[in-house]
Symmetry: C2
């Protein structure tokens, strides 16, 4: 008998009606002859309500108490889903992170999983029960409740799928799967049947907001195949899986845009050892999320350093750079908030050359100026003007033939 892990997010369990729909979905999977392990987020809206309560008490809550508070959210959803399953005549039991034995470190609000004992869940599955586990939460070695931070429920699902050797890990979302581009931008964007963990990692961090990168990394590390699919229909979604040979037939898997970053350039920095280190040490100290970094060639002992920073960190970067400028003897700082990062991603790049050249050519043909370039083994990113972003995505999608199914069936 095969074991399926099914993870449902907050919007799928936002109210009792939707919880019943989730119960129906679980019932179908059981009827198809599978064992089911469900992982749930908190009811949509609950977390925000709890945060509002805490803010009325303090602006600076302790992380431990925040975890104590927020972990009640999933405890509510798992008990309600178990009741809904009972109502359908299905044996089910809810378990908190602590009850499962999801042992984490003690970094409250962003704990990392250290160890999971699958014994408790396995025992209940063996008794024919559906096991409903609270996502997002664990317990440290001193018995404190912890939470896993952003994407935590996906991570719980992937980790449990790995420990229990599940046959599939289904992540239910409000989209049908992973697309070659954002369907709101590219009309003929195509849903991918398959994508590799590495490609998904690039896409996750490049602005395709379906899966959190951390869970995909975990899935890659432990060889878990994830099925991203919609909770609103029965269609197959996209399998995120280990690299398969036929995957390389497609040179490019998808095109993304990210408009949530700004460009910063520090002009005429003395080109002496240790200056770049100093700059980025200061940015790291204020926890600024820096992405692309480029240093241009030096001229008369001076150089320009450019980087992109996530917009939510822009204000604090601006603040520390004013001082830094005089400190390192740079001339001035330029800011550009009207940028977009366009990327093409695909494992096929490893074995196909000329992808970068083609990308630059396509953009040039459309008179789109490239402000920054950065590459990895399987992706190429260009920073361009924000108002040209959608056009760039459309032409790249077309020129790389992404609307056409390339994987031989």
């Amino acid at each position: 008998m095969s074991l399926i892990v099914q993870k449902f997010g907050g919007s799928s369990v936002a109210d009792p009606e939707r919880i019943k729909i989730v119960a129906d979905r679980v019932a179908e999977t059981l009827r198809a002859g599978h064992q089911v392990l469900v992982v749930l987020s908190a009811l949509g809206g609950t977390t925000d309500k709890l945060i509002t309560l805490s803010k009325e008490i303090t602006d600076n809550p302790s992380d431990r108490e925040m975890d104590m508070l927020l972990s009640t959210g999933e405890q509510i959803s798992i008990s309600l889903l178990s009741m809904a399953l009972h109502e359908l005549g299905i044996e089910a039991i809810s378990l908190t992170g602590a009850q499962v034995g999801i042992i984490t470190d003690s970094s409250h609000t962003k704990a990392r999983i250290k160890e999971i004992s699958g014994g408790t869940i396995q025992k209940e599955l063996d008794q024919g029960k559906v096991v409903v586990v609270a996502g997002f939460q664990g317990i440290d070695l001193s018995n404190n409740i912890t939470t896993l931070g952003r994407g935590g429920s996906d991570l719980t699902a992937v980790a449990l799928a790995s420990v229990l050797k599940a046959d599939q890990c289904e992540i239910y979302t409000d989209v049908d799967g992973i697309y070659t581009a954002d369907p709101r931008v590219v009309a003929d964007a195509r849903k991918l049947e398959l994508i590799s963990h590495d490609e998904m990692l690039e896409l996750a961090s490049l602005g395709a907001n379906v899966m959190n990168a951390r869970s995909v990394e975990f899935a890659k590390k432990f060889g878990v195949t994830i099925h991203v699919r919609s909770s609103f229909n029965q269609k197959d979604g996209t399998l995120i899986t280990e690299e398969a040979e036929k995957m390389e037939d497609a040179v490019i898997r998808g095109v993304t845009k990210n408009t949530e970053e700004s460009k910063v350039t520090i002009l005429h920095v003395p080109d002496t050892p240790g200056v770049a280190a100093k700059v980025f040490k200061i940015l790291a100290d204020v926890n600024a999320n820096i992405d692309m970094i480029i240093q241009n060639v030096s001229e008369k002992g001076k150089t320009d350093i450019s980087f992109t920073v996530i917009n939510s960190d822009f204000a604090k970067v601006q603040k520390v750079l004013e001082e830094l400028c005089t400190e390192v003897g740079a001339d001035s700082v330029e800011y550009d908030q009207n940028i977009a990062k366009i990327s093409v991603v695909g494992i096929g790049m490893k074995s196909h050359s000329g992808v970068a050249a083609k990308m630059f050519e396509v953009l040039a043909h459309e008179s789109i100026n490239i402000k920054m370039i950065s590459t990895s083994e399987i992706k190429i990113s260009c920073v361009i003007a924000k108002d040209q972003a959608d056009k760039a995505v459309r032409v790249l999608h077309e020129e790389f033939d992404l609307a056409k199914e390339l994987i031989p069936e």
Copy 2:
């Protein structure tokens, strides 16, 4: 250094503002040089909201999942109070029933405490922290979350006070303490300074709704002194304590009325062995809460059986009695829903005679007809017409001189 346990109910922690007031109260106790262990109920209203959610899913939720759901309520209040204490610069840590190690049996929704290890709490207290414990909840030996049922948070407080050998267990309520009678009925009702566990037990079960009988029983068994006091002012309340000699100086400690019962009489039951057993077996089978039982003398081989039943169980009693009547060969059943039970309670009765005679005389003098009588070592109860109840309480309060302080200072 003395340890004070302070228990606050749902209305004392109904919203962030009130939680801050509780934090101030704890801070004062600390300043007075005590260690503090706080026990909390769920935020007022939370439990009802959670029950409403569950009802939208099922009319018949499993008890285990109900405990999983409802135990989130206290987890929310303890984390918020800890944050409020931190905001005052006080070190504090919240602990769930499971984290404390409140081991119960597996009777979900009405679990009984089997064992408490005070080690975790003691360790935190020793580090100078205020420990904030979730009332009402525990964990069974299979790691399932359980709840203790009605009065559960009081019970947690009393049990922890016992295990940790606390110097006092303060139960904060919305009244100033225990009164000689309901102040809404008797204008000169007096707040008692002291009352024995036994007297409180009689009062608790006789309609003085301040303390749940179960917690008082526990306190009696383990010699815990409870201080019932108001969360709205600083006045001393009432100490519920072990019997002291001077207590017997007061013949009567209080007068109560209970208008939440009805009287049932089964007429002309055959007076043969086993009939009463049959009647009350059937009532027990439907979980009817029966209070006073009286069987009159037999006449021509027939007798009448009267009892009182709590009003919320009245409908189901009526239903089973219709059938029962023919089954046991009784003539008919009479119901009286317009009754009140008036009781006088006091340890002094043990050493003073004539209390019952005086009570009956007082009632007769006011032309109040007595329908049923029942007595214990330290109380006398009379069932009378409901519309005469307040008058009866007033005259008994006066004739037994309860407005006057009898305990020598």
